[in-house]
């Protein structure tokens, strides 16, 4: 830097003041109640620091006072866009502690509803992301599709969002026979919506100009921050727990793990849309191979796992959802730690948003796909 340039930057600092701005907790684009304290200069972001805790609901403490089956509905409220995957991670941990074998049919049903949940969650993300970038209508389009899937989930579980469907040792009840034709139709619709979204949003010139090369997350940095889910895959690391550490019956299905090359917002978006297609593929295979039999193992009324501990992780729509469960042999967990993917993924925000423009910052934040219920727990 020459002396003249140096004086120029110095005088610029004197001329231009830094503005400290709160984004959130009540803000249209923080996806809940996240607060980001940003220091901006003109249109540029110097620094951004997330401030959490506006939705901290003492989940881990409450869980220590409730019995094992009671906690299942409570997990629904953590990542409220992916209730099934929350329940799944939790019951998997308890089943591992108990050494319980889950009936095959129940495993397949879990895969079906779990992948439906992934589609539901990604659909909402697609809409919300378009909204972040200023396009209102895609949001309403995906919500139409979500409503149809809600109906389907309601048919199975009785609820729209917070299902309380999985049980320790299986699922609450079998899939009703009228579910299957409806599912087939819904999947066709979902694939159509994914194609539509691809054509209308992903291939839109403005959308690409807003997302390509923005918020680049190099794979090394992603590993340093233990990023998981579509964010990690967008950076080109083909890491998917369904494939890398198969749980349940995922090793029996044929599906691709979509990855990006550049690790920018655009790649993350493409990965998520592609994952919807892959989920539909998995569901079709699971329905085709659905075995007959029980949907619930015999479980004692009072569940008292032997003293010990277990860490299980599953692939939620947002990444590695880990449950660290410690039992002291009593009817309640001694300690339940929720390793929330959003919490970990959000941490990289200051790193990839530093120096970005204010508008890009919103695009980057949106591309992380955070759910505050899970971040704050």
């Amino acid at each position: 830097m020459t002396t003249a340039e140096k004086t120029a930057t110095q005088s610029e600092e004197v001329l231009e003041q830094v503005l400290t701005v709160n984004f959130g907790p009540q803000h249209p684009s923080t996806h809940g109640v996240l607060r980001v304290v940003a220091r901006i200069r003109g249109e540029y972001l110097q620094d951004a620091e997330p401030d959490l805790g506006y939705l901290h609901r003492c989940f881990e403490k409450i869980a220590e006072g409730w019995t094992y089956p009671q906690i299942v509905p409570l997990t629904d409220r953590l990542d409220y866009l992916a209730a099934i995957t929350n329940e799944w991670a939790y019951v998997l941990a308890v089943e591992k502690l108990l050494g319980l074998q889950v009936p095959e049919r129940a495993e397949y049903i879990r895969v079906i509803v779990g992948e439906l949940q992934r589609i539901l969650s990604h659909l909402l993300w697609m809409g919300a992301y378009a909204l972040d970038l200023g396009a209102t209508t895609p949001f309403l389009y995906v919500f139409q599709e979500r409503e149809r899937l809600y109906d389907l989930m309601q048919l199975v579980t009785g609820a729209r969002m917070t299902y309380n469907y999985l049980r320790i040792g299986g699922v609450k009840r079998d899939l009703p026979p009228e579910f299957f034709p409806l599912l087939e139709k819904a999947l066709d619709n979902v694939l159509k919506v994914a194609d539509e979204y691809q054509a209308l949003v992903l291939e839109n010139v403005i959308f690409q100009a807003r997302t390509k090369g923005i918020g680049v997350l190099p794979p090394d940095l992603a590993r340093q921050y233990a990023i998981s889910g579509p964010m990690l895959r967008g950076s080109g690391v083909a890491w998917d727990l369904r494939r890398s550490e198969p749980y349940s019956v995922y090793d029996r299905f044929d599906f691709a793990v979509p990855t990006g090359q550049n690790g920018d917002c655009y790649d993350r978006a493409v990965c998520r849309v592609e994952e919807i297609r892959q989920s539909a593929r998995i569901i079709r295979q699971a329905v085709a191979g659905l075995p007959a039999g029980e949907v619930r193992a015999k479980v004692p009324a009072a569940i008292r796992p032997p003293a010990g501990e277990v860490y299980t992780a599953i692939e939620s729509p947002r990444g590695e959802l880990g449950v660290y469960l410690v039992s002291d042999g009593g009817p309640q967990p001694y300690r339940l730690k929720w390793r929330a993917p959003s919490f970990v993924n959000l941490q990289v925000l200051p790193e990839i948003a530093r120096g970005a423009k204010v508008a890009d910052f919103i695009a980057i934040l949106g591309s992380i796909d955070i759910i505050l219920g899970e971040v704050d727990r």
């Binding site: 009540q26 309403l140 139409q144 409503e147």
Partner: protein
């Protein structure tokens, strides 16, 4: 003359003017875009195509200055309570609050734990309580209709504040 805070004077003109103003207020309840937790997703669903808040004239505004209605859609903890109060204070009069969901009504499943406010009526005055976890969009629409009825007849049903 301050029509709104004037003592209730029986009189045809006054009543008619009041009725017209109340009608305009109930017909144009703009809600603040303030989602907290699970219920906010159902709030979005209610704004989306199938249920369509806009039919009743409800649209969202980002700024509390231009909002008439605050939907508290989720649980409020100690950290959030200050924000909630601040946002409520910054809304322009007249303003209404609907506590959406069990958490906002009473604390829900999280009631009594170390960081929670057990019901938002400890922080801001609530006009309509809507239980459910989360309440369905139909229920949310119903709550809005109840609020509209309340706005039309403040004398008979009593105003919260």
């Amino acid at each position: 003359m301050d029509l709104i805070h004037a003592p209730f004077v029986p009189g045809v003109i006054q009543t008619t003017v009041d009725q017209v103003i109340n009608w305009s207020r109930k017909s144009s309840l703009w809600y603040m875009l303030y989602g907290i937790a699970c219920c906010s997703i159902e709030m979005m669903a209610t704004g989306a195509s199938r249920y369509d808040f806009d039919r009743f004239g409800l649209i969202y505004r980002g700024s509390p200055r231009q909002s008439d209605l605050m939907l508290v859609t989720g649980n409020v903890n100690l950290k959030m309570a200050k924000v909630l109060k601040q946002l409520y204070d910054q809304m322009a009069e007249p303003k209404w609050v609907i506590a959406v969901g069990s958490c906002a009504v009473s604390g829900g499943p999280f009631r009594g734990s170390y960081n929670m406010v057990d019901g938002v009526d400890q922080v801001v005055p609530v006009d309509v309580y809507l239980p459910g976890c989360p309440p369905r969009p139909e229920a949310l629409l119903d709550a809005v209709l109840k609020l509209q009825r309340k706005i039309m007849r403040p004398q008979r049903q009593g105003v919260a504040s």
